[in-house]
Amino acid sequence: MASQTAQSLVVLEDVHKIYAMGTQQVRALGGVSLSIDTGSFWAIMGPSGSGKSTMLNLLGCLDRPTSGHYILNGQDVALLDDDKLSELRLRQLGFIFQSFNLIPQLTVQENIELPLYYLGWEARPSAERARELAELVGLADRFYHRPMELSGGEQQRVAVARSLANDPVVLLADEPTGNLDTVTGRQIMELLAELNNKQGKTILMVTHEPDIATYATHHLHLRDGRIDRWEKTS
């Protein structure tokens, strides 16, 4: 499954990422090669400082590798400028964050519509799409509420709905249950697993909780900026 085939959705080739911290150079990733197929659900794990966040930022096209290649859906990300990267995030990616990251002054509807706004959708189809997604995550009755009026679990559902609005090829989740209690966390994970199973969404998730990782189809362990090991679990 993880072999470097032409059809692979995500391909990393000897990816290095070096940060300049003052005069010091910090090597966050040192030669990562990986190939991820459409429809898989990866849990990226490892102790803090192992390069999980850096890897997710790179995968999320928020950053570019210092050297090496990252090919997303056939496009080499390392060669793109800021505008092109934005365009790529807008059309191909969806983000789910640990701290939900909803915009507080916008309603549930408006938060879900955000990607559609940047995609240039008209108001009416955009509202319809948001309504569908709210129903999908079970929040149709909270449509006009603001994030402050929702529980943590509900907020994360809104975030999931928002990440799906642009129908992304890859969903990126950064500790999606980190701010939730166990029960709520499990509900969110079931939602993600369902998206993976039923809709075939490719999901790349960073987590440090083994419980949470059990929902994934593949486990990737990082250590000191390198791939320690990876395994297919289901």
């Binding site: 930022n57 999320g60 928020l62 950053d63 800021d82 505008d83 934005s86 365009e87 790529l88 995030r89 807008l90 059309r91 990616l93 983000f95 964050f97 990251n101 909803l102 915009i103 507080p104 002054q105 955000l114 990607p115 706004y117 940047y118 995609l119 240039g120 008209e122 108001a123 928002r162 642009n166």
Partner: protein, 421 residues
């Protein structure tokens, strides 16, 4: 489609500004006062200068007005019980100007005499204006009834007179106006017409008094002579003045100044004392315009400073807003917003802020002159260009002072912005 998008952006901007109502309100105040004072000041300036210019323009920008002026008296004369002063413009002056200066189109001599006018029981002091028919052509005055003096009146030395509206109303009252006979001094004159009264015209003496009676110059000269005798407490004052005023019309507007110089030179040659004054409405007009320009520059600078202060206030608040909403910026960037879309979002917010300030400022700026006019009886004119200017400035202030915070927002590193607490 573009419209609905702009509308959505503006609505979002307003929504974001409404989160901090007090803060946004206070920020807007800077613009309100800036724009309000610009419009108010401009309207007061415009009102004052337009009034002055209107008065000057009435005198005719093609004209030169020469007025007789009593020279300063020497002491020896004032001791005498009978004083005699001879001064003013001569018939000869008028003829010389008309015949020797080629740029002169025509001249109108004016002679002024104070006499009582009678009509039956009524009487009042009139200022008799002896002049030629050309006067009515040069000083375009509305004829309310009858006709103006004609060349025939002069030729036949007709005892014809025109009254101004005020004079006519007071002297003739309800009687049939045209054709009435008015006695001026010992002589009877037929009222041939009534012309509109002109209100006082700033400083320059023209035959504009409300109780004027216009008669042919040669008639005035024949009947009343050139000598004016005035009796005051035991003393007698005599004045010998041929002409009190000469209006000179110049052929074209760009010859006015050189013609005025030529007249000045000529008069200086023939008059020992400076018993005349030459006023050039065009020069006054130019001067008034220059004054207005200076005035506008000063006002513009004051307004500019107040708008600068307002703009800095806006920029300050927007920088605070950007810091406050760093995470929102990170979220938007992660979702796929381009840098220029972030710039657009914050720019629209500042423009909304400054434009709302501008609009309120315009309302205040229109109300203040109105209050000034009502309370201080000062003329004010709110010109449409000043409103458009104020509106343009408001939008520009929004763009200029919003650009830096907006660019700063857009340049934020999305990863760092997402982590921002």
């Amino acid at each position: 489609m573009q419209h609905s998008r702009i509308f959505r952006n503006v609505r979002l901007g307003i929504k974001n500004l409404m989160i901090h109502k007090l803060r946004s309100g206070l920020t807007v105040l800077g613009m309100v006062f800036g724009v309000g004072s610009v419009i108010a000041m401009l309207s007061v300036g415009e009102g004052a200068s337009r009034e002055a210019m209107e008065q000057i323009r009435k005198l005719g920008s093609n004209n030169i007005i020469i007025t007789a002026m009593k020279p300063v008296e020497d002491d020896s004369a004032s001791i005498q019980r009978v004083r005699m002063s001879i001064y003013g413009l001569l018939y000869e002056d008028e003829r010389r100007i008309r015949e020797t200066i080629p740029t002169v189109q025509q001249t109108v001599p004016i002679k002024l005499i104070r006499k009582d006018g009678y009509l039956g029981e009524r009487s009042m002091e009139l200022r008799i204006v002896g002049t030629t028919p050309d006067w009515f052509e040069l000083v375009a005055r509305k004829v309310l009834a009858g006709r103006v003096l004609s060349q025939r009146d002069t030729e036949k030395k007709a005892a014809a007179c025109l009254l101004t509206e005020h004079g006519a109303r007071r002297l003739l009252a309800t009687q049939n106006t045209i054709g009435e006979s008015v006695r001026i001094g010992p002589d009877h004159f037929e009222v041939v017409g009534i012309i509109q009264t002109e209100t006082a015209s700033g400083g320059i003496q023209t035959p504009d008094q409300e109780v004027d009676a216009y008669i042919p110059l040669n008639v005035a000269r024949e009947r009343y002579g050139d000598m004016v005798v005035r009796r005051t407490a035991g003393a007698q004052e005599r004045e010998l003045v041929e002409l009190h005023q000469v209006l000179v019309q110049v052929r074209s507007i760009d010859q006015v100044e050189s013609t005025a110089e030529a007249i000045e030179k000529m008069l200086r040659h023939f008059h020992q004392k400076k018993d005349y004054r030459i006023s050039v409405p065009l020069a006054l007009l130019k001067q008034a315009e220059a004054t207005k320009r200076t005035f506008n520059i000063v006002l513009g600078s004051i307004a500019g400073i107040s708008l600068l202060v307002g703009g800095i206030g806006i920029m300050n608040i927007m920088l605070a807003t950007v810091t406050e909403r760093t995470r929102e910026i990170g979220i938007r960037r992660a979702i796929g917003a381009k840098q220029r879309q972030i710039i657009g979002q914050f720019l629209i917010e500042t423009i909304v802020l400054s434009t709302i300030g501008g609009l309120i400022g315009i309302v205040i700026g229109v109300l203040i002159p109105w209050v000034i006019t009502v309370l201080a009886q000062m003329p004010t004119i709110v010109t449409s260009w000043s409103i458009l200017l104020a509106l343009g400035i408001s939008v520009s202030v929004g763009i200029i002072f919003g650009l830096y915070p907006a660019v700063r927002a857009a340049r934020l590193d999305p990863i760092a912005a997402l982590r921002h607490e």
